[in-house]
Structure formats: C-alpha cells, structure tokens
Amino acid sequence: MNTSTKPILETHDITRHFGGDNGFLGSSAVVRAVDGVTISVEAGETFAIVGESGCGKSTLARLLLRLIEPTSGQVFFEGQDLSELPPKALRQLRARMQFIFQDPFSSLNPRMNVGTLIEEPLLVHSDLSAAKRRARVAELLVQVGLRADHANRYPHEFSGGQRQRIGIARALASNPTLLVGDEPVSALDVSVQAQIINLLEDLKQAFGLTLIIIAHDLAVIRHMSDRVAVMYLGQVVELAETDDLFSHPLHPYTQALIRSIPVPAPGHKPAGTTLTGDIPSPVAPPSGCRFHTRCPHVIPLCKEKEPILNIAEEKRFVACHRWKEIVAEGRLNIQIPAPTPAAEQRLALYRAHSTRGQKPTHT
C-alpha cells in the first residue's frame, strides 16, 4: 500500500456516546461506545476493524457511513465532511457508499420479492427506465452467483448464504466505490462463508471497490484484509498491515487475541497464557490504559496515564506505554503448523477437481 494513495474515508477523533439522557427516572449512564477514533482508509484496500463484543466496532461502522450521528468528531468521504452535508447531498453520496449487514434476513423486507429489493436502490439513485432497471437487476443477480429468475422469489425461499448474496447485490446496485460489511459472513456456515468471502474478493477486483470489514473472526480478517485496526473498549489499540499484525503483534491485547484463536492442528498450543477476566463495561472504562485490568504487563503508569495511538514502526501504530519493552523481552512469533503431506496432497486434489467442473454456485 502506497502512503501517497488518497484516502477514501477518514475519521477525525470521532466519538459516539449513548445514554446520559435526563429521563423521567433520572439520567442514565453514558456508554462510551466509540471514544476518539482516528483512522484513514485508502482507496482500493480492504480495511478491517476487529474486536470482541462491546468494543464499539459496529457503532464505528455505522458512524463511518453516518447511519448514526457522532457525538463529536468528523468523517470525511473523499475529503468531504459528511456531518456538514445537507440531507439531499448526503443521500446522493450514499449511492457511492453502501452497507452489508450481518443478518441478511432481518435486513431484507420479507414482503418484497428479490427483484423489487434489488431495484429499490436503482429507483432512488438512478433514472433508468423500468426495462433497464429489470435488466440491471438480472445482471446483478448473476454477478453475485444467483440466477436472473430468482428475482420473482421472496427472501424466505433462500438459504442464509443466498440471502447474503441478495444483500450484496442490493448494496452493489448503486455502483458504490466503498462497501462496509458489518460481520458479513459470521452468521454463515464455514463452507458457505468461504463462498461469500470469495465472492466479495471477486467483486472487489471486478469493480475496484474499497472494502471495510468489521469482524470478530481473526482468521476471516487475516484472509481478507490489507490493514487491520484492533479495537478495545471504544478505542483503536493497534493498527498495522495484516501480515505484520498477525506475525508479530505488538499490543498485549492483540497478542492475547491472536493466541486465543483455536488453531485447526491437533497438539498445537501457542506459548503464553490466555487472558483472564472479562471485558470491563464501557459504561465505566478503567482509568489510564483501558486494557490494564487484563494486561499481563501492567505497571502503575498504565493505571494513571492513557496511552495514545503512536507510530511504532513503519506503517504501524500501537497504543501502549510498554510496547518497546515487551518487544525487547522477545517478539511474539505466531507459527502455524503446516498441514501434513497427505492432507496437503488431498486438499490439492480437492481444489483441482472442485474448480475444474465448477458451475456457477447457487447457494
């Protein structure tokens, strides 16, 4: 990734707090879902935001497209401040940035057939004639691996994977340049998940899309993304290129996350201990470094002073007071055992045969 590439989407110290309203029973607690996030996504890359439940990644995804309003801070899409745009201009811009939801069933209107669902964004964002819209719907269905005649069916007639394909077709209808997927594959079975991941990669290539993927599954992130931001309790704690992040994570939280992934190789157990304790409540985040309550490297400074996301090495950022000392103690090197020759040989045969006779998959 070239640093001179123009960012397509940037946030500047964006925060979103929930609650704190003065209701009839007194004021509710303030949840700091996203607390001062500054990121910059370059055109053409796949940028991933990873974290555990409650870290604010889904809130951040919605803020990026201004599906919800920030409490403070700005989002720039190709240099335009989204918060200053009048509603009409924002609506026009929406054609260029689309969202894919986790659960395709709850995001598709069950009373509309698939053709109407995919046509809807065309009605809003284009002035195509009815015949051209129908042709475009058919084209989109084929692009996402469905059949043109599926347009007459309803969402309930499809499997989870097929519904996700419909959701993707709908997102693609307005010719976006940016797609934000909030856990786009986590509701799907492994084999179907692989189909959708491949589809997203193919579409990205074909249409020159920029992808922002929000996920909790680190293996999916590793496979799909160019750069990763790791979030913990509303803040980005580490940001790096994917290979660097996974081969030698710097932040103790990232290290723990990567070590926690169960590796599909029997007898493999990464060195080091698993994290103790639960994620603290975002209503009352710990003082200083928010990770200090679970961090194995904690010192008194961590409880007092909040670390800021600073440049650590080339193109990588980390928010930790002690990252240098931790690295000096020994870089964590994550090694994944290779499959045995027998497994490798059969997997290769499987791959060769499954692509040879491959028809368009209708999942």
């Binding site: 998940q193 169960p262 599909p264 497994a343 999942t363």
Partner: protein, 354 residues
C-alpha cells in the same frame, strides 16, 4: 469420582463390528451409540441415519458438521430430549451404564439427566431461569438428585463456583443471570452441569456465543475439569479449531450421517473424506494468505432431494453415478480411523483413472 481410564484403542464408531460384539474396551466406554436413526414427521429420509460412536471415561468426542447435519439431533436423542410430536427414534441403541437411553421411560431418564449425564448448551441465558439467583438454581439441581439439605447443597454450589474459577464466588451465588457476563454465565452452566459428578457431559456448541479470549478460557476450564473428574465429554461444534484443541476423537457428520471418524490426529493429518477436505479448505487460516479459499459448491440439499446413495454426492467434486446410487459403508482401519467414501484414498483412486 471416577477412575481416570484412558484407553487408546477406543474407536468412536463400530459399524464394521457386528452390533452386540463386546470389544475389550467395553468396560471403559461410558456411552455407546449404535446404529442410531431418527426420523422427523413429514421428512422422507432419516435426519440422523445409522450413526454409531462411543466415548470412554475421560475422553472427548467431537461431533463436527455444519447446520442441519444432525449433530444436535443426535445429542438430543441421547439425552431423551427430542420433541415426541415430530421426532421418532427409527432404530439403534444408546447404551449408558448398560441401559438403553433410547427406550428408557421418561421418569427413568429424568433421574439420569442432570445427574449421571449432564448438558451444557450454546446460549446460557436461555438455559438459566432469569427470575432465580444462579446459586438457587445450582442448589435445586443438586437437591433434585441428592438427598441433602439446603445448606449442604449451597455449600456444593459454592464449591463448584470455586472449581469453575468464578471470582468472588460467595457474592456471585446471590446474583441473577442478567448480572453476569456471557463467559460467567457459561461458567455457571458448567458448574451446574458438573455439580452431581456426571459420568457423561454433553456440550452443544458451548463456546460459540463467546468472544475468542473468553472461549479460550472456557476451553481451558473444560479440559482441566475433565482431567480432574474423568468425565466423558461429547462436544458438538462446527469449529475445526475447537476440535483440534479439545478432541481425542472426532466424528464428522454430513446430512445425518457420519462420513469420517477417528482419532483427532488421523482426521487432521490424514483426512480422507471429500467433505472433511472441503471443510478444512473452507476455513480461512490465521497463517499467511495462500490464495482463494476452497469451497464446497452449493448447499446441503433438502431431505427430499438427497441422493439415494452417498448424501454428499450432489456437492462432491469426485462423485460419479455409482456414488449417487450406492451408500458407501463407514469402514475403519487398524487405528480406528474410518471413512464412508468409495473414492478414498483419493490419490489411489484418481491414479487408477489416470
């Protein structure tokens, strides 16, 4: 507590052995399921078809497969929890302490369930009663099966909370489920399930709803507790990573049948069935990226569209007309590694074809 019997010769399935043959390992087997078939009303084929496996004390068998493969139905059948209106046991036996769980009267199986045989489900919030404290719920579980007073039962609950490493256990006993985090709730469920020293623990996706750092804690906990108690564990999961971490033996299910089974090393290091290979290829790796993911084309056909022969034939890249029409038997080698495929080992069969 139970003797910590670990028998390396145990095989998870014994289809090739005639039913009723008592193997040398029999004494160690806690659960022996043989030729289990389950049918659902209105479904033309068995949703679980001729499934056999066994688990010895202190061992872990993982049932792996994707949604709808019958792994949960198999476990519900063993626990006697299948809804009687729609599901029917179409055949087979499930021997537990020399009694067939599939034919036990309801009252008898209720005595075993929660006592000798316990369960942990995926979503602890729906398994815990929201209007009672977690301490009361464990106390009740103990008193349901043991003639003890409330103070002793509560003492036992406290002991179990310490065993599952819940911080400040005395305080937590008096909390309600909604006051606990997902990981804590799952610890409570495990504490409750182990409170009566079960010989068999059935866990259906126990870590699927949890975050990855919490999942690692719970898997460690399950492994430690199993080492201490010698409980046999039947773990149902879709995650091959979890399988590699915790299983001794594995049974891979597809569309209601076991397609491959055996010791965990054999399954991962010497996979035979094309479905097992497809599953492994579909999983993104946390190692360096190696290109596109391998996929299994299409999706599981609806029951009425299943082919008469091998049920994977509609999606298998190697299947031919013979596979469509004939059911491959699950045959085991000397290590207890078995697979149900006419084309395995793939390299040999494909070489024959040229």
């Amino acid at each position: 507590m139970f003797p910590d019997v670990i028998d390396d010769t145990m095989t998870p399935s014994a289809k090739t052995a005639p039913a009723g043959t008592r193997q040398d390992t029999h004494g160690a087997n806690i659960l022996e399921v043989a030729h289990l078939s389950v049918s659902f009303a209105g479904v033309p084929v068995n949703v679980v078809d001729d499934v056999s496996f066994s688990i010895a004390a202190g061992r872990t068998l993982c049932l792996v497969g994707e949604s709808g493969c019958g792994k949960s139905v198999t476990s519900l059948a063993v626990m006697g929890l299948l809804p009687a209106k729609v599901a029917r046991i179409a055949g087979g036996t499930a021997l537990f302490q020399d009694r067939d769980l599939l034919t036990l009267p309801r009252l008898e199986i209720e005595k075993i369930r929660g006592d000798r045989m316990a369960m942990v489900f995926q979503e602890p919030m729906t398994s815990l009663n929201p209007v009672f404290t977690v301490g009361d719920q464990i106390t009740e579980a103990v008193r349901r099966h043991r003639k003890v007073g409330k103070p002793e039962a509560r003492e036992r609950a406290l002991e179990m909370f310490r065993r599952v490493r819940i911080p400040s256990p005395e305080k937590r006993l008096d909390e309600y489920p909604h006051q606990l985090s997902g990981g804590m709730r799952q610890r409570v469920m495990i504490a409750m399930s182990l409170a009566n020293d079960p010989q068999l623990l059935i866990a259906d996706e126990p870590t699927t709803a949890l975050d990855v750092t919490i999942q690692a804690q719970i898997l460690d906990l399950i492994r430690d507790l199993q080492r201490e108690t010698g409980t046999a564990l039947l773990l149902i999961t879709h995650d091959l990573g979890v399988v590699a971490e915790i299983a001794d033996d594995v049974a891979v299910m597809y569309a209601g049948r076991i397609v491959e089974s055996g010791p965990v090393d054999a399954i991962f290091n010497d996979p035979q069935h094309p479905y097992t290979l497809g599953l492994m290829g579909s999983m993104p790796s946390i190692g360096p990226k190696t290109g596109r993911l391998t996929t299994i084309p299409g999706s599981v056909p609806p029951p009425q569209a299943l082919p008469p022969g091998c049920r994977f034939a509609t999606r298998c890249p190697f299947a031919d007309a013979h596979c469509q029409q004939n059911t491959p038997p699950l045959q085991h080698d000397a290590r207890g590694h078995g697979w149900a495929c006419f084309k395995a080992p793939l390299e040999l069969h494909l070489a024959e074809l040229g």
